[in-house]
Structures are given as structure tokens and as C-alpha cells.
Symmetry: C2
């Protein structure tokens, strides 16, 4: 899995909503109604991530969820991160 260039990453970010590119990877955050809603979404995302064998770096505090995606083995952001980001977007938008 090849690390994407900054240019490729910026271009791909255009197809997602509310994600940004930082030194840590591609990032987004969500605010849900309460903890139960946040954890419900996390559970759906967890199953997708496990099926993809690609996992998020994520932090949950009550109703908030911050997600950072990067590919450790590639030392940067790869197509796998965008695939998971798209899956996360679909899960959250399906609410």
C-alpha cells in the first residue's frame, strides 16, 4: 500500500465532507446527541474497520468523537484511509 502524496491527499479530501489533513493523518470529528448515540456509531464503524483490517485512531468524550486515519506500515496516508473514511461518512450519514 503506497503512501499518497500531499497533492493526492488534498485532491481525495474533496470527495469527503469535513475531513482535514494534518501531520497525524486525515482527521474529522463528530458531535452526537449523547454518549449512547456516539458509541452506537462507533460500534458500526468498528465492525467496518475490522472487516477492512484497517483501524482508526479515535477519541470519544461523551457525545464527541475525533477520528484520525493513517497507515502505520506506509508511514502516511494511503487509499486504505480514504476507503475507511468513506465508510465512516456513509455510516454517519445513514443516521
Amino acid at each position: 500500500m503506497k503512501k499518497l502524496t500531499d497533492e493526492e491527499i488534498e485532491k481525495k479530501l474533496g470527495s469527503l465532507e469535513g475531513w482535514s489533513y494534518t501531520d497525524e493523518g486525515i482527521q474529522t470529528s463528530f458531535e452526537f446527541e449523547n454518549f449512547k448515540e456516539a458509541f452506537t456509531l462507533m460500534t458500526r464503524i468498528a465492525f467496518e474497520a475490522e472487516a477492512m483490517d484497517h483501524h482508526p485512531n479515535w477519541t470519544n468524550v461523551y457525545n464527541t468523537l475525533e477520528i484520525t486515519l493513517s497507515t502505520h506500515d506506509a508511514g502516511g496516508v494511503t487509499a486504505k484511509d480514504f476507503k475507511l473514511a468513506k465508510a465512516i461518512e456513509d455510516i454517519v450519514n445513514a443516521e
Copy 2:
């Protein structure tokens, strides 16, 4: 819910294993076999936290889980945090 003093916190930490006290609250971290195990434990903890109406600040990266507990309304660490910490310890030790 009254904020505990530093002395009270240090004393109560003695009854837990592997927790420390920082500016952010009381903290611990776990390392599980893989993501599936980590998220399974998180799910058990999530149900306990929701039942207590007291929620963790937690970060998961693959098989690791970092947890910080504090009581926002009290501006510090309270007995509620130690109750949740004990529940977390029991859940993890039950594995």
C-alpha cells in the same frame, strides 16, 4: 458531587491497579490482543458507564486503550470517577 483533594485521590488510587493521577484526571491504559478484543472491552465498559451516567474520556488505537476519568461538573476527580475506575478494573480482570 464533591471534588476530592489530592490527598484523598492518592489514597483511593491505592485500591486500584495501574492508575495514576494527572492534571486531566485519573488515567490508565490497557493493551489487548487485537482491535476486536479492545473494542469488546470498550463495549462492556460503555454499558457500565451509561448505566452510571458517568462517561470516560478514552482513546483507542488498534489494540491499545487509554482512559482518563474526571468529573466535568466538579472540575476535578470525584468518587464517581473511582466508582467507574473500579468497574473498568472488574471488567478487564474478568477476561
